[in-house]
Structures are given as structure tokens and as C-alpha cells.
Symmetry: none
Subunit: 202 residues, 4 copies
DNA sequence: CTCTAATCGAGACGGTACGTCGCGTCTTACG
DNA sequence: CGTAAGACGCGACGTACCGTCTCGATTAGAG
């Protein structure tokens, strides 16, 4: 995802309150919006993001093509809207992982969070938006990482963040794959913790 | 990248000989082909793959639009053609990394290889084709990994391959970034070796 | 203008009284209506009819878009409403011109009438609605002409009406043009009378 | 037709040779162009210009929608292309009418010309493009009139041109109407000559 | 040193998706 | 009831890029 692509919400401290309905004026608007988001999630499980057309989303949502643009400027914006809050949470949970102290606990919290929204995250990480999600995750993590005082490390900060995000991403994506039997959270957390180990060694 | 996307060369044992001239028929054809490849590499350094149009490539190559299709079925095929050989080599060098024995040596060989084709790999890993390259690298590595007797490990093979490829990919991409001063090969190899450590621990 | 285009009022004997308030129910309605008419007149002086959008009219009138449709089915209907009365009068004054007797007097009356509503007629004849006005004038004139006993003439009635209307229309439009200095009514009447001469010769 | 509308060819002395095919490169292009012109003429006989959509023209021509724009920038441009040459001729024949000498001969020539292209002119003058044609005819006539030394007249030049064009237009349109039996050229010429009489009187 | 066939430039074409605009209808809530 | 506010279905708009396709013109490499 290039520099000129619409970005996911820039704030990690995004209001998690369920009071996001800034303007619940018209019931129809809400219905259309819901339909679009549902349609998008349904499609993203089936094909990569760039192969999904706005027309498909609109058709799947039972909504007129032009109506899509009354809600989102592009399908990337819809992805943002769908994923922004979740991503914000995930990044907030991901950052402490970079710290040495209590990494295991942070990792477990992260896994538990993903598990609680398993369906959505399966769509996001294993569907066609995976690439965009990885990029976005990396971008937000980097933002956060530079703000926090980067602990002295044997690794460049940039590389450390990139590797952390990649390992987390790959592990979660693997976890959410239906190919193997269900893996308990504790095991995933353990695995991830172990994978991240060398990143924080002195 | 989905299942219906054109693939890079499917063989790892792809002939690495410099005798790739599949059709050395006409000198004109060879000239056009070279121009197209050069133009593509020039463009991919500047913008993401999906923003590059066939018309742009042709214009940059000083070649007529339709001529492009006399050489490649799509721009992805051109990417394949440009990257296939390199990718084949890289995978061949990447696979032994999965083995326990002599990982450090393998890692160094890998780094040295990339360093010897620094310009090309910079374009491939940091340009607009990065996503496609990562996917392709992963795919080929997986193919190879399942063929080789997978050493018993505390990690799922799938996850191990995914993490290895990701770490290698991120490290190389970071290495090729112009943001920081030149990093000597030995240091990169050391870093990579250390990052890969937990993947092969008992 | 085709057969399926909204028509100006079909009656020439349209009540010319200033008591057009078809629905003097609500004071607000009247205010909206006035605002719409004024806005329309203001716009038609500036650009052709087909380039004026309902949204523009509503905005210019300081009225909500949907409100427009509570008053008029389309912008053509508004044109009708604005022009119908005037057109009715004009046609009523135009018809006697077709007669041989006392044409000069009729022509003068016609000119005087237009002069008395100079601003409005300038908008109607020289603004973007000119084409529609010409068509409508012709249509109504023809209706009237066939009803009146058509005096025997060397000209086909259809052609005579068309030419009369055209000459009147062109002369008035020229008269109302700001390009040349003010022309006295008598001179215009004289010109028009002379132009119409051959239409009524034996 | 406003000031920002595509104009018909500005030259009256437009090359009347049948060698208009400036670039007969591709036979397909010529075929598409012919189909578009024919489709346009077919449609313009049935409905007003502004009700004809580009999509209709393309469909009628059996040509893809986008192909239309490879030939014309808008449907008005197609009208231009269809009518430009004819209009050029007509104006060239119309201008001498403004002269006093030999007006009758000029009028006859004009009528004969229209008669020779009766089908086309019927479409142009009585179809949906009538308004545009009138405007264009007027515009070109005015251009020509100001260039020629305007004979001293009791009429403003502007008004004289407007009235001449209107009378010619209405007469031709009436002549081409199927409502009445065929009228011989001589009679039309005579009528027109007589109608134009007062315009050139001293 | 031809001559024949591959390759090229030029560009029209059908096709699909894009994003915009204006229309007229509708819902909702207010006064 | 009339209004403001605005979402919605509809459908035309004009654009962009795709990949296919005729056309000659040229030019390389085989005879």
C-alpha cells in the first residue's frame, strides 16, 4: 500500500465506546452502511482486495452502485472503516510486546483479543486484505514505536518493529487457518513469545 | 495473491544458466524485450505494481503498446520473467536455512547473493512488487519445504516456513533500504542468523 | 421541443388577473414559490435553460432542494408558471396582428406591452429559455390561428403563422438586446409592421 | 446553444470536394463513423437532440459506447460533423440573398440545393436538431454578413440577418413538412423571395 | 543479395470498471 | 401541512486501461 493510499485511523487511542454513531439521523443510511460492510466482509473472504469491485460490493449489499460512494470514497476506505477500530486495538496491544517486561502477558492479551473477534480477524488476516492489513499494522506500529522511548537493542528499531509485526502477523494468520485443528490460546501465546524472544535479547 | 494470479516460475530447479534466451530468433525482438524489462525495473522502483500500466511500460521502453503483448501476456508475466531466475536462486539459497546444520553459512551465502545483485533486489523487495515477491517467495519455499523431510520441530512446518520467509524478507528489505548507512554483510548475516534462532531450537 | 415535454399553459384565455394564487394556503408556501420564481428568473438571465439545475434554483432561492418539487414537477414547469401569464398576454396581442385590419395598432400594443415588462421579457427572450419560448409562442399562436377564420391569403396558414411569430420574436429579441442604444417603441412598431407587410398582402 | 457549445465548422468555404477522408487509414474507423452518422440521423428524425443519448446512438450504430468518443467528443460534435458541410453550403447560398441584386436567382439556387438533399435537410430542419441548426445558421450568417460590406438599409444589420435567417428557416422547414402536398421549387422560391422583400427595400 | 517471414508502429475496437452528476422519490424530524 | 436535511435508486456522463485485432512498413536472417 503506497503513501497515497487512504489510511486507517491514525489514532491508537481510538474511542472504543459503542457510541460511534456520530449521526444516526436516517435509519436507511445505517442500513445501507451495515449492508456494505457485511457485503465487503463476505467478499473479502473469497477473493483478494484488488479483485473486488465496488460494483460487486454494492450488488452483494443490495444497494445501488452510486450509493457506495455516498458512504465511502473507495473500497479501501471501507476496509479502513471495517478494520480501523480493530487495528487500533490490536496495535495498542501489540506495542507492549516490544517491551521486555511482561511480554508473555501482553502476547496472551493480544491472542485473547483476536480470539474474541475470530471471525472478523480471520477475514482480515487471511482474506484478500491481508497485504493491506500487514502494511497498515506495520505503519501504525512504527508510529507508536518511535514515540515510545525505544529501548536500547542490538537491533535497529525499524527492523525490530518490522520483524515483530511480521512474526505476530504470520502467527495469527496461521492460527486462524482452518487447515489444522484448533490450537489453544496458551500454546499460540507461548509460540509467539518464543518467536519474539531474540528480538528483545540484550 | 489469489490462486488465479499468474505465478512466478514454478520450479526451483529453474535453469540458472545464463542461457535463458528462449527465442533468440530476431535481434529486434531481443531489443524490445530488453527495453521492456529495463523499463519495468525503472518503473517498479518508483511506484507500486498495480499503479503501473502496460502503456507506461511500453512508453518508457520506447516501444509500441501492442508490442508489449507480443512478449508478455500481462505485466505480471513480465514481473515473473524479470524475477523468476533471481527468485529461483534465492529460494535455492533460502531452503538450507531451514536446516539446522550450518545455518550461518547458508545465511551468509544468501546475503552475499543478494548483495551481488543489489540493484535488482532493491527494486524487487522495496519497490511496488514487494507484496508479490513475498507471496511468491513464501509459495516456492513452502513447495520446497514439504518435499524435503521436515525436521521434527516444536513449530508447525507451515508456521516455521512463513516466519522464516518473513524474517528473511524483512531483514533483506531493511538492509537494502537507503535510510541507514551501509551495513556489512557479516552483520546482516549475524542478525538474520540470530533472528532465525528460535525457529530451529529443539 | 417534443410531444412529451411539459407544456406551457394550454389556454390563451388564461386568467390574466393578478389573482393567480392557486393555493394561498400557507404563507410559507407563497414565500417559497416567490423565491423560486425570482431565483429562476435570475438564473435564466445568466445561462441557458438546460444548464440550470433544480439544485441551483433551490440554492439561489434559499430553499431546500426537495421543496422545489412540492411546487413544480420540473424546471420546465417553473418556466411555464413564470411565463404562462405573460405568454398568454403576448399571444392575445399577437393574434390580431395576423389580421389585416389595423395591424399597425396591434403591433404597437404588443410592443408597448413588452416594454412595460421589459426585464421579464428580456430574460425570457434573450436568456436560456429563448428556444422554449419561441416554440411555445408558435404553438399557442397556431392554436389561436386555426380557431379564427383564417383570412384567405397567398400563404399557407402554417407558414404565415410561423413567419409572423419568428419575425415578431426576432424583432423583440433584437429590441431587448443591450447592444444598441434604446430604440423608441414607435420605431420598433414601424419596423415590425413593415416586416410583416408581405405576409398580409393579397 | 450557448457560447461554450462546440461549433460547426467555421469556414463557409469548406472544401466541398468528396475528398473529406483526411485519414482513410483504417477501414474499421470509416465503418464505425458511417454507422454513427447514420444512427444519429435515424434518431434525430424521431426525437429532439437533447433526448438522444450517446448510448442510444452507439447502440443504434451497433458500436460500443466508448467507441463513440473515439470519433466525437459529444453528440453535438457529431451533429456538427453531419451538418457542417451542408450548413456551409447553405450559408454560402444564403448570403447572396442578403444582396438586393438577383435575389430571386439566389433564392432559387438555395431551394434547389435543399431539394437535392431533401432527406438530410428534413432531418436537420424538422428533427430534434432544429434549434441547434437555426442557431448555427444564424451564427455563420452573421459572420459572413459582417465581413461583406453591409449595404445601407433601413434595418439594423443584426436584425436583418436574424429575420432573413428565420424566414428562410421557417419556409424551408414548412416546405419539407410532409403535412401538405409537394410544393414545386419555383413556388417556394417565389414565396421566399416575396417574404424577404421588405428586408431589402430602401 | 535477394526474398520471405517475423516484427514492428499505429491505432481502432469491444469490453469492464471507474467516479461524478443530476434527477425525482422518499424518510425523518421539526415547527 | 410545509419545511429542512439528506439518503436513495436510477441512469447518463466521460475516462482509463485492458487485451485483441487489422493494417501496412521495415528489417532481419536464410537461401
Amino acid at each position: 500500500m503506497g503513501a497515497d493510499t487512504p489510511k486507517l485511523c491514525d489514532t491508537v487511542a481510538h474511542s472504543p465506546d459503542p457510541t460511534t454513531p456520530s449521526s444516526p439521523r436516517d435509519a436507511r443510511a445505517a442500513r445501507s452502511n451495515d449492508a456494505l460492510r457485511a457485503a465487503f466482509l463476505a467478499l473479502i473472504e473469497r477473493k483478494p482486495l484488488e479483485q473486488i469491485t465496488v460494483r460487486e460490493i454494492a450488488a452483494e449489499a443490495g444497494v445501488h452502485y452510486a450509493t457506495f460512494f455516498r458512504h465511502y470514497a473507495a473500497k479501501e476506505a471501507l476496509l479502513d472503516d471495517v478494520a480501523a477500530e480493530q487495528i487500533g486495538w490490536l496495535v495498542a496491544l501489540t506495542v507492549p510486546v516490544l517491551d521486555q517486561t511482561d511480554r508473555r502477558t501482553a502476547v496472551e492479551a493480544l491472542c485473547r483479543y483476536v480470539d474474541e473477534h475470530r471471525t472478523l480477524w480471520t477475514a482480515l488476516l487471511r482474506g484478500g486484505a491481508a497485504g493491506a492489513m500487514r502494511d497498515e499494522l506495520l505503519r501504525l506500529s512504527r508510529n507508536v514505536a518511535v514515540e515510545r522511548a525505544p529501548a536500547e537493542s542490538w537491533l535497529s528499531l525499524d527492523l525490530a518493529v518490522a520483524c515483530s509485526v511480521s512474526l505476530i502477523f504470520e502467527t495469527l494468520a496461521w492460527w486462524l487457518a482452518p487447515a489444522h485443528g484448533p490450537v489453544p490460546i496458551e500454546q499460540v501465546a507461548h509460540t509467539l513469545d518464543r518467536l519474539l524472544l531474540p528480538l528483545h535479547a540484550t
